[in-house]
Symmetry: D2
Subunit: 137 residues, 4 copies
């Protein structure tokens, strides 16, 4: 299953080439995965209250076309790979049917002492809902 | 006495009007006051280790001219007003002799329980070094 | 009349004090005024296509309380002052009924040669819809 | 040959986990490659005046350890691969001898009509100076 949410590009996100600055797509990926978790009843803010954190260990973006000011973008996210201690979440940034940027992040799980721990059963259950295959992200 | 430091504008700071996006000047003001404190031997990171935090209670910017990509800017900072529980720090963002943006922030002081406390004698001593009068910031 | 829109705080907007970093409120003000113009049928992106730009000449923020990660914020915007060549737009950032940050920006109008021009009748008409009195912003 | 420059982490770059937010490393990579080009006598701003732009087509980051507020970081950059129409620039973000984050971007070259063009001889010459082998970036 895919998860999709929308986002309107503010002036703040653009650069002098007249397009969204490349680092902002990692912020977009964050929005995508956050809303995906919330939609499954597990807001990331809840996880932090339980003392679990999901730091990013890798991030990758492929830039195919540019997003512009005021575009209404769709962030499509899914779980591309799920292990015991790492998960790969893919996201595509689309404008209507066009994929502008695709990529993924790899997340691990640490406790409040910043020690690596296994994902909780709750996290695993949420991720399973969104396991999917997709583009080259 | 004024304090001055320099900063090179990256692409990340620009917007599609081809100039530095207006919110970034508040980040520039942060750099200005941080380096001013460091230059007086009191890095803000040290204050936090002592359990003192200086949250911003007000910020004001007047935009006179635009900074551009790759400009080498000078941030000139000084203490415009010093009280027991609040300090007003002015900053001018300049390109060579031209003032592009001027403004100020008002900072208070809180302890690690987020209670308002007086500035420590150390903070007062540092601020006194940089008390100055200046533009309309 | 007031205009209101909502925004979810991402991790990206927070700082190590665990609250929204102070410069981000100027980005929030941008979102507030942009959606206000759009709601009246005049997206800012349309203005730019007509060769009109509304650069910010002043910005002011008063920080009363902190926004946190994952807060669902409301941006309430209105026209606090309307002249021929400048408009003051006030915005309050709220969490439920609590005003966290209030402030305003002053905008002018320039054409594509960056010369100051009067607001177009269309801009004036939109602004008039949202003229209101409000807090101390 | 490697190129190195330094950068002090402002509060603005941190998030509520108390570390530099992950998207900011792409801004750091931008600083690294920009200063590398400038050091070789070819500021990127000059290229744009000549009508040449180097858009990013891919970006990758591997996060090994966290950078913190006020850290003095070193950005080490080099050319990891050089073709006629694409170049891969690697960057390591270090604190003293420790590599915190490593990664790369792939850049192409377009003219002012946004058509793909070959790198100019001047760009090739600069890149050749910094061709090096390095970590796993």
């Amino acid at each position: 299953m895919y998860f999709e949410c929308q986002y309107r590009v503010p002036y703040a996100d653009t650069d002098q080439m007249g397009v969204v600055y490349y680092a902002n797509y990692l912020v977009y990926f964050e929005r995508g995965r956050t809303e995906m978790f919330r939609s499954a009843g597990l807001p990331y803010s809840e996880l932090e209250k339980q003392g679990l954190f999901l730091p990013v260990s890798e991030a990758y973006c492929k830039y195919q076309a540019s997003a512009h000011y005021d575009d209404l973008l769709t962030f499509r996210s899914w779980i591309a790979e799920l292990g015991r201690v790492r998960v790969r979440i893919a996201t595509e940034v689309r404008r209507a049917d066009e994929v502008l940027v695709s990529g993924h992040v790899v997340l691990g799980c640490v406790n409040s002492e910043r020690r690596i721990v296994r994902f909780s059963p709750e996290i695993i259950a949420v991720c399973r809902k969104f396991v999917a295959e997709g583009g080259e992200a």
